[in-house]
Symmetry: C2
Subunit: 205 residues, 2 copies
């Protein structure tokens, strides 16, 4: 699994001429980093004097962000695997009409899956902004910049993953599926830009 690679190994593999892992897995890793930074601020708040009123909420956020971190780490492979499946489908035989029809169907299904997986990364990444805001507003003030970095990473994760949604949706023949995906892309792109801006505004100095 990609999460078992060291950071040195992962970035080296990313830089290679293999088509996977690529931007989608990098986006998932950025999401894991964002969730971890929110968890860090929460961790630095629990049991700290002066923040007694936030202890329960921060403890809950730390737990939720741990689940989000695990989701993103697993998504690094899910994204790479879904795209590898598209590549495999293109190699299916196309000698007879039946084989051709079967190949087209397999490619279309694989493309849809390869759009749905990064969409789930983008949706999960977009959820992080609210948590980043809460830890900056109610968490340990000494760590609030880590909440800001979380928002920067969440935006990179969302918008990065959406490139893979767009690329794969572009090759879909079903106009309804395509339109539905592209509408979600547009909404999430706007949300990522707006929400990041709102979080960063909390600690302008």
């Amino acid at each position: 699994m990609l999460k078992e690679l060291t950071i040195d190994q992962f970035t080296e593999t990313l830089a290679s001429d293999s088509p996977v892992p690529g931007g989608g897995s990098a986006a998932a890793m950025a999401g894991a980093t964002a969730a971890s930074l929110v968890a860090m601020v929460a961790s630095l708040t629990v049991e700290k004097t002066g923040y007694e009123e936030s202890w329960d909420e921060m403890s809950g956020i730390r737990e939720e962000m741990e689940a989000v971190r695990v989701f993103f780490l697993d998504s690094m492979d899910r994204d790479a695997d879904s795209y590898a499946e598209v590549i495999d489908c293109f190699k299916l035989p196309k000698n007879t009409d039946e084989e051709k029809a079967c190949r087209v169907k397999a490619i279309q299904d694989a493309l849809y899956e390869a759009a749905i997986v990064p969409l789930s990364i983008a949706e999960k990444g977009a959820d992080i902004f609210d948590y980043a805001r809460i830890v900056i507003e109610k968490g340990n003030k000494n760590a609030s910049s880590d909440g800001a970095v979380a928002a920067l990473m969440a935006r990179a994760s969302v918008k990065g993953a959406l490139y893979n949604v767009k690329i794969n949706a572009a090759s879909l023949k079903d106009p309804d599926r395509k339109a539905e995906l592209l509408q979600k892309v547009e909404d999430l792109e706007r949300k990522a830009d707006d929400a990041e801006g709102e979080v960063l505004k909390l600690l302008e100095f």
Copy 2:
């Protein structure tokens, strides 16, 4: 070294209640990811039919990005170490006037170093945009979205690192050093936003 941790271990450590590693190391990791994604597009272009005219340039970019990747991986520790040094200096004895003066001097020097290190991360991250633009314009079209994700990661790296510059510069007593650092922060923040926007515009669809 942090680069020797698996992605699972690194993000878990990040999420803990230890003040380091934090946003600065995360920013450095994002920079390493950005450099690797640019290198990936270059790698997927070298020796590919149809891109013969770009082979030499892409080969050069791949080498340069490898050096940048290594710089960022090492910077993950440099940032964590420089901030840990600030924390250590605050623990120095302050019983006599001499000890107090010595402590203040040590803290100020450590703070300056803890601002300079993330500044070097931000400066290196800002260099990536030009390479991202070149690989999108002249590299393998099938991988151009990886160049776009590189630009997203580079912006997160630059702006994330700059938070640590600002925080540490804010506690500097020397007004000239402080003003010089804050001017650089302002310039780099603007550059990161503008340059990312220009790169992403290259593949709007």
